[in-house]
């Protein structure tokens, strides 16, 4: 019967007790008239009854003991572990930051050292050519130069303040001569002096 299709869903709702009063009456009336639908209704009702009356199984007697043991083990494991999940990320982040800082400082130190050795030419403010000549002589007498790096593209002398580029050029060439006197076997060719 074509109207059976429309009743199919209503029959299931009727089995589940979900229909309002008026709709329930319609379904009951239809079931009294339609054999196919009443067979479906009976079959579904019996299946539902069988399922609701299946024997429920019990947990094993040691279920709660086993569960408690597993929970205790988890708690003791989490307590023992130093790097607990909540603090793991900050610890790693702190370690990384420390490593970065250490690397930074080491690089900085080595840079400073190399900068000190290649510092721009610094001459005392009251420096004069006569003083320069006497310094040359002093430099000439020195068996070992102080703070001279080989190979180098700039001449370095520690101490003092920087001077103008034109003066510096003159004094640099003079100093170059004096340096070559100290270490005659080496040729120093300054490419440029950086201020």
């Amino acid at each position: 019967m074509p109207e059976c299709k429309s009743f199919e869903e209503k029959i299931f709702d009727y089995v589940d007790g979900l229909l309002p009063t008026e709709a329930r009456k319609d379904v009951v009336r239809h079931l009294e008239e339609c054999l196919d639908c009443s067979e479906i209704y009976e079959g579904v009702t019996k299946v539902r009854w069988q399922l609701r009356n299946l024997n429920s199984i019990k947990v094993s007697p040691d279920f709660e003991t086993v569960l408690r043991t597993r929970i205790s083990m988890e708690r003791s494991l989490s307590r023992r572990s130093f790097l607990n999940r909540p603090i793991r990320i900050p610890v790693y982040a702190a370690t990384g930051a420390l490593a970065f800082l250490a690397a930074f400082f080491i690089l900085n130190l080595s840079e400073r050292q190399s900068n000190n050795n290649s510092a721009p030419l610094k001459i005392p403010p009251s420096f004069s050519s006569s003083q320069f000549s006497s310094n040359q002589a002093k430099l000439g007498r020195q068996s070992t130069p102080q703070k001279i790096n080989y190979p180098m593209d700039r001449l370095t002398i520690s101490g003092g303040t920087s001077i103008s580029s034109s003066n510096l050029e003159r004094q640099t060439s003079a100093l170059t001569d004096s340096v070559t006197k100290i270490v005659p076997e080496r040729r120093i060719q300054p490419v440029g002096v950086e201020f």
Binding site: V47, Q50, L51, R52, L54, V59, E64
Partner: protein, 207 residues
């Protein structure tokens, strides 16, 4: 002092006096550190979860493992529960997910299911409550047949049939547990019932 799980008889005796705490109250207390509240949750849900999972995966031993794992997850993830949903929805969702994972794993392993064995290979546990042994054995056999036919359903029908007709949950709750619209849940329940009816019809006619 060793913390013991409270006995159900104690709760029945004091039931008249004390108002039984709701599941949501218990989980809230547990979230604040009350382990006894967790014990009560275990007592309330262990049997019904076991029956749900057992009907779903078909094996009692595996079902117990899954239920244990469900409670462990509730323990670990207690802070994740928010009161906007029912606690029963949450715990059934966990149990359902674990059961489905086990079925997928089993499918990959091509596990030889005990339900495929013939009747002669199985041990029946005869209950000591039987008055008429013949009727009792018949009842056990019938139950085994129904259990087998439930297992023969595809997982999507099996799950909703168990939740609706064995666990007696509402359509709304089932819809939230399996994350499927209510209409789809109803449709699956009805089709599952019709399939079972066609396979178990001979059993119904015997009675």
């Amino acid at each position: 002092m060793v913390e013991e799980f409270g006995s159900s008889s104690k709760s029945k005796q004091s039931g008249a006096r004390d108002k039984k705490p709701s599941d949501e109250d218990l989980i809230e207390r547990f979230q604040k550190g009350d382990l006894y509240a967790f014990d009560l949750i275990v007592k309330r849900y262990k049997e019904q979860l076991l029956n749900f999972v057992y009907r779903f995966v078909g094996n009692q031993e595996e079902a117990e493992d899954i239920v244990q794992e469900t409670f462990l997850r509730v323990y670990r993830k207690r802070k994740a529960y928010k009161r906007i949903a029912k606690f029963s929805t949450w715990i059934y969702t966990i149990a359902g997910n674990l059961s489905r994972t086990e079925l997928r794993r089993r499918k990959r392993r091509k596990f030889f299911s005990i339900t495929d064995m013939g009747y002669e290979d199985r041990d029946y546990e005869i209950s000591d409550e039987g008055y008429n042994p013949e009727n009792h054995v018949e009842g056990v056999i019938q139950e085994e047949i129904i259990h087998k036919e439930i297992n023969n359903l595809s997982p999507k029908f099996r799950e909703v049939i168990i939740l609706r007709d064995v666990q007696e949950l509402s359509y709304e709750e089932i819809s939230k547990i399996i994350r499927v619209p209510i209409g789809t849940v109803k449709s699956r329940v009805n089709r599952g019932r019709l399939k079972l009816q066609s396979r178990l019809g001979y059993l119904m006619k015997k009675k």
